[in-house]
Amino acid sequence: MKDSKESTGLSRREFIKATGVACAAFFMAGTVPGLLKPALAAEEKEDIKDVLKKFFGDRKIETGHVDLKVPIIAENGAVVPITVTSDLPMTPDNYVKKIYVFAEGNLRPFTASMELTPANGKAELALRIKMRQTSDVRAVVETNTGKLYQGSKPVKVTIGGCGG
């Protein structure tokens, strides 16, 4: 393809480069340096059960009120677009306080979280995440009253985070 439009808006070249870099990085590591154990070997994968326990303790997480939009097949594990939506109300007395996103197959499943207020009007977050391998993506929402709800969906990663 000889398309010479190089400088339209966000440079596509830059984007692809960055994506590739992230991709490679992810395959090799996938570690969150912000976590407290830098000595942890790269192969030591955190189990989603332990992660959920770390975040939520023994609190009950009900299924429902969380809708995940994910690709059935992700061609590039470095850029997997996901959307988390909750149908829970966003009124001053009753609202979704926080959304958590976990990619279960990653060495460090915790991916991102977002705190919300009623000023958001709607509990929805779309972002693009890195996935090392085919696995479930799980989202948990926490309400201001302390209730937890979750939903999960599988994503098949064909080029597993750039190598797997």
Binding site: L10, A22, G34, T117, K122, R128
Partner: protein, 109 residues
């Protein structure tokens, strides 16, 4: 990465008062994990956005915590209830002390 920290925020063209509108935000950032090595075998230091804050007028309405598992050049969509004419500001902070911010004006009609 030549343009680290370049931000684009997009709102719908017309906004009605009290409408819940989508905010799309893109920031150029490598989101480097820190365990990758360069061609010479030297580790490339971690460089990623870990903190995002959204202000609407004077209020902090949302904040986010990110890890390296957020894709490079993070692109997010979230929602805001447009109940006033006020600036909407997004502030990104990375683990190396970089701060990047941009503001758009919300003008409900």
């Amino acid at each position: 990465m030549a343009e680290v920290g370049k931000i684009r925020i997009k709102l719908p063209q017309t906004i009605k008062k009290d409408e819940v509108v989508s905010v799309k935000a893109l920031v150029m950032h490598p989101m480097e994990t820190g365990l990758r090595k360069d061609k010479a075998g030297k580790p490339i230091p971690a460089h990623y956005i870990n903190d995002v804050k959204v202000y609407y007028g004077n209020d902090l309405i949302s904040s986010m915590e990110w890890t390296t598992a957020v894709s490079a050049d993070p692109f997010i969509t979230f929602y805001v209830k447009a109940d006033k004419a006020a600036p909407l500001k997004i502030v990104y902070k990375d683990n190396k002390g970089g701060t990047y911010e941009d503001t758009v004006q919300v003008n409900p009609q």
